[in-house]
C-alpha cells in the first residue's frame, strides 16, 4: 500500500532546490525499489527453499509450461520497451506519442495478466491449489504478489492515460518516469522469476 506514496504528485514547481539535482520523486522511487528487492527476494527464496519439499503432487515439473510463459515473458518485456518510449516521448513533450505508448504499455500489461489468469485457472484444474502442497502455497503467493504489482501498474498507467485528456501531462515528465521505473522493476522481477522458477525447473530433463 506504500504505493499511495507514489501516486503523490511531484512538487517540482515549488521545490526550488534539490541538493543532489535529482527530483525527489525519482529518489523516492529508487529507494522504494531497493526496498522491494528485499520484498521479492524473500518471496523467491521461500519458493527455492520449499522447492522439492512438497509431500504430495502436483509437482512444478508436471504443470509449468515453458511455451506459455515464454510468450507472457515476451509480452512483459515488450511492455517495458513501450514504457521507455513513453518516457522518452513525455520528455520531448510529445503528448500524442506519450499517450499512445502509455496505452500500449498498460494494454500489454493486461495481456500479461490474462496469461497469468489462464495459468492460474489451468493449474487449479490440474489440482494445484494454495492448500494442496508447498508448491501451491509458494507459487501462488509469489506470482500472485507479482501479479498484484502488475495490476497496480496497469491501473496507474490507465490513470495517466485518462488524466492526459483532462490535465496537462507535459510537465509531469518526472511523475511518468517514476511510474515507468516501477513498471520496469516489475519486469526485472519477472526476468528473475522466469529463470529461477520456470527455466531452471527443466534443467536436466532435456526438454
Amino acid at each position: 500500500m506504500g504505493h499511495a506514496a507514489i501516486a503523490e504528485h511531484d512538487q517540482h514547481h515549488h521545490v526550488e532546490h534539490s541538493y543532489t539535482g535529482i527530483p525527489n520523486k525519482k529518489v523516492l522511487m529508487w529507494a522504494f525499489l531497493a526496498s522491494d528487492c528485499m520484498f521479492f527476494g524473500t518471496l523467491i527464496s521461500t519458493y527455492i527453499i520449499y522447492h522439492g519439499k512438497s509431500l504430495v503432487g502436483p509437482y512444478p515439473v508436471e504443470v509449468l509450461s515453458i511455451p506459455v510463459t515464454t510468450a507472457s515473458s515476451f509480452v512483459l518485456l515488450m511492455s517495458s520497451l513501450f514504457m521507455a518510449l513513453a518516457v522518452a516521448a513525455v520528455n520531448r513533450k510529445d503528448i500524442g506519442q506519450t499517450r499512445l505508448w502509455i496505452f500500449a504499455t498498460a494494454f500489454f500489461g493486461l495481456i500479461f495478466l490474462g496469461f497469468q489468469s489462464f495459468e492460474f485457472t489451468e493449474f487449479f484444474h490440474r489440482g494445484v491449489t494454495l492448500q494442496k502442497n508447498l508448491f501451491g502455497s509458494t507459487f501462488y503467493t509469489m506470482t500472485g504478489t507479482h501479479g498484484l504489482h502488475v495490476a497496480i501498474g496497469v491501473l496507474w498507467l490507465f490513470s495517466w492515460f485518462v488524466y492526459s485528456y483532462f490535465g496537462d501531462i507535459s510537465d509531469k515528465a518526472v511523475d511518468i518516469e517514476s511510474t515507468g521505473l516501477y513498471w520496469h522493476f516489475v519486469d526485472i522481477v519477472w526476468i528473475v522469476i522466469f529463470t529461477v522458477i520456470y527455466l531452471v525447473e527443466f534443467v536436466g530433463i532435456g526438454g
Binding site: A31, M38, I49, A84, A88, G180, I188, F194, V200, V203
Partner: protein
C-alpha cells in the same frame, strides 16, 4: 532533472530486440544436450544480462546520476546476500552431528570390556548370591533368574534388541525387564554405581557371552 534529455528511443528498440533474442536463447538452451552445470550457469548469466540491460537502459541508470545506481544496488546486494545465505542455511545445514571414524572406534574401546575379568566382578559384587550360572563356581542363588543363555534372551523376547544394551539396561534399571515368575524391585538399583567403568564393562562383556 538529470540534465540528460537525449532521446534514446532508437536504443530502446535495439535493446528490446536483444532482450527478445536472449529470451529465445534461454529457452533454446533447455533443449541442447549440455551438462546441467553448464546449462544452469548459462541461464543465470543470461538472466543477469537481461536484468542489467533493463536497469541500465530502460530504467536509465546508465545515463542517470550515479547516486541512484548506488541506492538501488545497495538494496539489491543486501537482498541477494540475505537470500543466498537463507537458502544455504536451510537447504545445506547438516542434519546430524557427524562423528568421525576415529571417534567411533575410541568410543567402542571405551565401552568394550574384557570378558575374562567378568567372573571376578560377578562374585565380588555379590551377584552370585541371587543368580545361578552353571559354568561359574559359587553362582548358585535362586532369588533371581538364572543367567545361563542370557545372550539369547533378548532375541527370544524382545525382537531386535541388542544384547549388550539389554544387559546394561537391566543392570542400570533392574525393573526395565522383569523375567516372568520373579518379583520386581528386589534387585538393588545402585549396582552400576558400586563399580568402576572398567569393572562394569568387563561384567557386561562376560554376561553377553553366556
Amino acid at each position: 532533472m538529470s540534465g540528460e534529455h537525449h532521446d534514446h528511443s532508437k536504443t530502446y528498440w535495439a535493446m528490446a530486440g536483444i532482450l527478445a533474442v536472449v529470451t529465445a536463447v534461454e529457452v533454446a538452451i533447455l533443449y541442447i544436450a549440455i551438462p546441467d552445470s553448464l546449462m544452469l550457469t548459462g541461464l543465470y548469466v543470461l538472466a543477469a544480462f537481461k536484468f542489467g540491460l533493463v536497469v541500465a537502459y530502460f530504467m536509465h541508470l546508465k545515463y542517470d546520476n550515479k547516486l541512484l545506481t548506488g541506492i538501488f544496488f545497495s538494496g539489491f546486494t543486501i537482498a541477494l546476500g540475505t537470500m543466498v545465505a537463507m537458502v544455504a542455511l536451510i537447504n545445506y545445514q547438516p542434519t546430524k552431528i557427524a562423528i568421525s571414524v576415529k571417534d567411533t572406534k575410541q568410543l567402542q574401546a571405551m565401552t568394550q570390556g574384557n570378558p575374562e575379568n567378568g567372573p571376578a566382578v560377578f562374585s565380588a559384587k555379590g551377584c552370585a548370591a541371587c543368580h545361578k550360572i552353571s559354568s561359574l563356581a559359587g553362582a548358585v542363588g535362586a532369588v533371581g533368574p538364572a543367567l545361563d543363555g542370557l545372550s539369547q534372551r533378548p532375541a527370544d523376547k524382545l525382537a531386535g534388541k541388542d544384547v549388550t544394551a539389554y544387559i546394561r539396561e537391566s543392570i542400570e534399571n533392574p525393573n526395565a525387564y522383569v523375567v516372568e515368575g520373579f518379583p520386581a524391585g528386589l534387585m538393588p538399583a545402585n549396582l552400576r554405581q558400586s563399580m568402576s567403568d572398567t569393572e562394569y564393562n568387563d561384567l557386561v562383556a562376560y554376561l553377553a557371552k553366556l
